[in-house]
Symmetry: C2
Subunit: 477 residues, 2 copies
């Protein structure tokens, strides 16, 4: 709780973000370099994200389990691209119980290897397939430049790991989970993501093909908000995950993995936030409605609080907080809850008590435009509708912003300018050299080849070779 003003987003987007995360008490810096503490308000948001995803995972037949934090170093070395991708980022336990370990243990950066070793033990026959397991937990990657939620040494996520009898089934699973991420992002977080395929250069270390949902932040940079990987038989071969098929032939499984992390909280902050602070989508907000009582003296206070308590009870179907802190003014409380992004504020003063009314103030429309007055009698219905309106309006606004900041450059020169102030959607031949050229010239990378292609063909924006698919180039988090 602080009264220092945030920098505005146009002034300094990056400082706006850093200060907002701290001031809204979503997270804090831990005393270990690069690590974060997710504070109760931030964790409540994560718990809502967890429930929204977990429900979808279970509805599609997935179950949760828990695999160890520690992985023998030798396991990582079994998949060549995987170890190359992750070895610069490992935290290594070398001492246990006061003794030097014979084989160092890696703190998991991701769990394909340890889970693969268990699948090899559990899977014997096609009857055991598919195996559809998810895990909620944290992983560690030794990042040098860290930012709260966006990139920390330890972060929280879920990682799904599945094994299948056929390549088709594994590819369908990869796509199904990508669609679940997209549906969650759009429906619950009001974040209009673009699902697509990663380039060879940007894919997961060890995958055959990586898919992603990409979101545009308030500064027009892209953020990879969730990924789903088709791993082919790479890990099955490295960990000997074999099964007897219908013809009693021993075959390698086809596997997938998919993950979404606390990074998504960063996406929510930077998609919806404004210069007053957070703006949280109602479906995920830890507090959906805050009631602020307004009074001048003790006599008024008594009457107002009585109504406020009753309204709170009537709004029992929502996540409601009555802010009855006595030492603070209503104005202070308004600012405080705006900073924290509570979607809807209910104000109750002596006149409202007299008239049987409430004032509603929308977080997404500050000022008069977002204010309305409703009868107390009908509060629950009105509030429910208002929250749905806010949810829809946040999505529409973010989608309009993304569209307004996405261009289709006509020339390479256009492209280099376009990626300085937004996303560029361009024909691309698929060549790694063209991709590298853009990165070198602009620092923009290929974000994804959107699944939704309009068809047709055109010249690669870099080399001019004919191409039939467009890619998004953008600077990214």
């Amino acid at each position: 709780m602080t009264t220092d003003k945030l920098p505005t987003r146009s002034e300094n987007f990056s400082e706006w973000y850093n200060q907002l995360v701290i001031k809204a008490e979503l997270a804090d810096y831990a005393p270990v370099r690069g690590c974060m503490v997710v504070r109760p308000y931030g964790w409540a948001l994560w718990e809502n994200i967890q429930q929204a995803l977990d429900r979808r995972f279970k509805a599609t037949g997935h179950v949760n389990a828990a695999f160890p934090l520690f992985i023998p170093m030798s396991f990582l070395e079994k998949e060549k691209e995987h170890v190359e991708g992750f070895s610069p980022e490992l935290a290594v336990v070398t001492i246990g119980g006061g003794e030097k370990l014979e084989e160092p243990l890696v703190v998991r950066p991701t769990s394909e290897t340890i889970i693969g070793s268990m699948y090899s033990k559990w899977i014997k026959s096609y009857r055991d397939l598919p195996v559809l397991i998810n895990q909620w937990g944290s992983v560690v990657r030794w990042e040098m430049r860290t930012r709260l939620f966006l990139r920390t040494l330890e972060f929280y996520w879920q990682e799904g790991h599945t094994a299948h009898a056929t390549a088709k089934e594994a590819e369908d699973e990869t796509l199904q989970m990508l669609n679940i991420y997209a549906d969650f992002a759009i429906t619950d977080a009001a974040v209009p993501v673009v699902p697509g395929v990663k380039s060879e250069r940007e894919k997961f270390a060890g995958a055959v093909r990586s898919t992603t949902i990409e979101a545009m932040m308030g500064d027009t940079r892209a953020l990879q908000a969730g990924t789903s990987h088709f791993l082919g038989q790479n890990f099955a071969k490295a960990f000997d995950i074999q099964f007897l098929d219908w013809n009693n032939q021993l075959e390698y499984c086809w596997t997938t993995s998919w993950g979404l992390s606390t990074r998504f909280i960063g996406a929510i902050i930077m998609t919806h936030g404004d210069d007053q602070g957070l703006v949280l989508p109602p479906r995920l907000a830890p507090i959906q409605v805050v009631i602020v009582p307004i009074y001048k003296n003790d006599e008024e206070m008594g009457r107002v609080l009585e109504v406020a308590e009753r309204v709170k009870k009537e709004l029992g179907a929502f996540r409601v907080k009555l802010d009855d802190r006595k030492e603070l003014t209503p104005g202070f409380k308004f600012n405080d809850w705006e900073l924290r992004g509570v979607p809807l504020r209910v104000e109750i003063g002596p006149k409202d008590v007299q008239n049987g009314t409430l004032a509603l103030a929308r977080r997404d429309m500050p000022g008069k435009a977002g204010k309305s007055f409703v009868p107390q009698a009908n509060a629950a219905v009105q509030v429910g509708e208002m929250l749905e309106t806010i949810q829809a309006s946040l999505f529409e606004r973010a989608l309009a912003f993304r569209k307004a900041n996405t261009s289709e450059p006509e020339s390479y020169e256009d492209l280099t300018r376009a990626v300085q102030k937004g996303w560029a959607l361009s024909w691309w031949c698929g060549g790694a050299e063209c991709e590298a050229q853009v990165k070198e010239d602009t620092r923009a990378t290929t974000r994804c080849i959107p699944l939704d292609q309009q068809g047709g063909e055109g010249p690669c924006i870099v080399c001019g070779h004919k191409s039939s698919r467009k890619v998004i180039f953008a600077r990214a988090y």
Copy 2:
């Protein structure tokens, strides 16, 4: 899924336990020494335990958060008893991102120190108090002799950490959380625990006073199933957690911590399990009801499955599984679900289709005694009542077992015999020497001084000095 028979409990309780955990697919050995994989069936049980506890935590004003996995070595050294207690058990990260770390990082064995350092930053005034935070996660203790769920290098738990303005408030919190654990154990797990206070020798490293819930396992040994600690100002002084009180005086906070772990799954297995396998309490069972269709040919199968599907739908308020695996006989399925401890089995055969009936079979009463026939029309009500009956009956049985195996020895010689086959409740002077004597002679330790004392006084069972409280001596897990 395996048909090898379990050893009986009387034959070899320890092997019965080890094999049961594996065969019922609750957990498996990980490829890292002393670590476990919690398989989906075991994790679903843990998720139900989590929900039962989390609901109680939130109802009493607690919120969840997440603190880092890594703790600077120097933090642990700030509280003298704490570091002495934990340093033999630490896993230490010495390498990060390919470089030797300047200060090694400990993988948390418990989080008092790192959380204390954050509380010191967050807490400024009495207005910030109390702080009531819980964390779900895993911790690591480098144990040499490990057993699935009971003692593993990494285990899953929740740890609550609270800070208060007065000693009284912190002591009340300690007791409140102990009562929550006891209520959960009794009401949801049907495990009749004894809440009490730990001796100085057995208390948590760094606590002023530790309280515990102790449970009797099927071999009469005791298992510490949850603990709640009053930490006094020990950690507040070590981490400088100070606040300005109502008189603007700077004071140290009073703190508590409390935890319950996946060890509790071991308690459930060893309290209720029988020679056929697990017996899970209905309130926590991942599958409460399994429906097994019985038929001889395809024609019968069609009719039976149609009813089975309908009954499954009607039992939608419960966690129901319809076992329609075609390659397995009903007898095999009966054994399989008995091994997995599903509380209630519904059998549906061609006669049931004809007569509109169902056969119900209680897991806690194998054979005819536990079998009944009910009309399909009323299935949901009948099943609901039956599950409640099973829940109550498991508790009564476990309580009767504990009473039957708890004695009040008259002499020291009696005591040494009593602890070989059960618990001994005895007057105890509170002296560490008497406690040590019993341990040396019998390997039994003081489990707790029960909160519920019958009053009066008598001679310490070891030294004969007058005492006004009784303690439980027992061999323990």
